[in-house]
Point group: C2
Chain length 318, copies 2
DNA sequence: ATGAAAGCGCTAACAT
DNA sequence: ATGTTAGCGCTTTCAT
């Protein structure tokens, strides 16, 4: 029962008499013995740990993503070291160094926007996967929600409901997501040979903007029968304005939001139909890709994850 | 320039000629050398890592807490291993074992409620600090927002504004926070020799409950001049109902919420005055206590952190 | 089939 | 003041 033999027994390797292996296993069980990951890491160079680097403070979007990643990684007995760089490049560099010094096996990089961020892959000796916020280098692997497809889902839903005069209210113009979701909407309207009514509106992501946008819509294009909004907050703001003007939702105008943010969609009057980015799935997919890359099978490119649509009373009367 | 000498130079210990120390430091700088935390951990038993265990899925409350903890820990060069047990005791046990095997120096335990949770301290060989969600063992160290003081803040604010007919709308009756915030409110009303008007209402944390509660208030105690709500969502719901009935806020009725949840307080009409639990500070304090405990100076007991009050237009006309 | 020994990167004690 | 050595807990040769 030497240490070497025990090691073989526990790892399942080597040439051992079955009875010996059994005895060792039994003893280990009894003593509650677990091989030290630290010592193992020293020897193998692998720590079974990945760094999760969020460039911009962990927000609402990061959480499901993180949980999804954790689900996938925990299966592989891999733990997550969490680092939030607070949108500070200096801090980010510091964290990267720290994580590398700790010998993480890989990185998941995320942020709070869907616009590309600078790649850090080149300077790292371990695999990196970008999740939600893609890398600006197309050769890196980035797992992102498919904003265009999400917009298409919303459009197809409205078309299927027979709506033909559809307006669009985006978030800030400088966000790619504002444009991609609009593009998807237009793709869905094409087969019905209609286009978005009036000019797409751009503003903020918040409710106050949604309320303003509602005013604009009522003034400039009062004959619409549907609005697709780039966030649930905007959609809720639009609903509030329509409601204040006694416009029926969904009878007169159907409203579809984006994010499927629980507290928002449920509190809205009426509850919002919304596109769900399935961020948890994004996290899982990203983690699985990272595991693959760590195992020597890296992939690259932009990997879009399909959005889902959750139908509620703002588009379909219950 | 042997390894032993280099070690002394870098650690600042031992007896070295200053010139040698300089040379070593310069060389280390040039080679970008960093001592391996893994090897160091093997030797010292300390990993400079703590486990952050969230019993119930990381929610809105956990994030500022986590960031605060990270701030404090990063200063001490300590990294956070994140584990979310998803309210599953089996999973929690699994994570605890994993973290212990990884030789974390301590634990921060948190959750999504302010009600006590089962202690895990006894079974662990390393220090544990509970944050936000306290331990059910008073001998453990738990850092929590002071709900009573938060309620008092709200009450004092309303009293200072000259309000005397104040109603209370709580969350679910089974949550301690619903009662503690009420107690604080009452403490603040005492010096003015008034009590809460009507029966305190209990329901849910969500807006829909706030809207219902608003109806109840208008029916049963229409002569109130203020309402304190145990969450921003409730407060916003109350505002919506009052608004629907053309009640002036704050002129007729002042409204104060709890949580200071950005998206909620700002989107509300009017924006909400709200009690802030300073969760970031809770995280920082918890982390500092953990560092102290790791350094051999443990504390114990319930450590309340004061709430703050953020005044907006729902209580004071701008 | 098992045991002995070397070494992963580091530090602390000891020897020079 | 510097170099040498042993050992943290494990795995992997290599010898038995």
């Amino acid at each position: 029962v030497s240490t070497g033999t025990a090691s073989k027994a526990l790892s399942g390797g080597g040439q051992l008499r079955p009875s010996t292996r059994q005895r060792v296993l039994a003893a280990a069980e009894e003593l509650g013995f677990h091989p030290s990951p630290v010592a193992r890491a020293l020897l193998s160079g692998r720590t079974y740990t990945v760094g999760l680097l969020t460039s911009d403070s962990l927000g609402r979007f990061s959480i499901p993503l993180l949980l999804g990643a954790e689900d996938s990684l925990a299966t592989g007995e891999i733990a997550i070291l969490l680092c939030d760089a607070r949108a500070d490049p200096i801090r980010e560099q510091y964290y990267i160094r720290t994580l590398l010094a700790r010998q993480v096996d890989g990185f998941i990089v995320t942020g709070h926007r869907s616009d590309p961020r600078p790649s850090i892959t080149a300077s790292l000796p371990v695999p990196v996967v970008y999740a939600y916020t893609p890398s600006d280098n197309p050769d890196d692997l980035s797992v992102v929600p498919d904003d265009v497809q999400g917009g298409r889902l919303a459009g197809q839903h409205l078309i299927a409901l027979g709506r033909r005069r559809i307006a669009y209210v985006g978030g800030p113009e400088r966000y790619a997501a504002s444009h991609l979701r609009l593009r998807g909407l237009r793709q869905a309207l094409e087969p019905a040979e209609v286009d978005v009514v009036g000019d797409p509106l751009f503003g903020e992501w918040q409710e106050t903007w949604g309320r303003q946008a509602g005013q604009v819509l009522l003034r400039s294009t009062p004959d619409i029968d549907a609005v697709f909004c780039a966030s649930d907050q905007i959609a809720r703001g639009v609903c509030d304005t329509l409601r204040d003007h006694s416009v029926g939702i969904p009878d007169d105008i159907a409203v579809v939001g984006f994010d499927n943010w629980d507290e928002m969609v449920l509190a809205s009057r009426p509850p919002l139909t919304s596109v769900d980015m399935r961020l948890r799935l994004v996290g899982e997919v990203a983690a699985n890709h990272l595991l693959q890359a760590i195992a020597g099978r890296p992939q690259s490119g932009l990997q879009p994850v399909d959005c889902g649509l959750v139908v509620r009373e703002s588009s379909v009367r219950s």
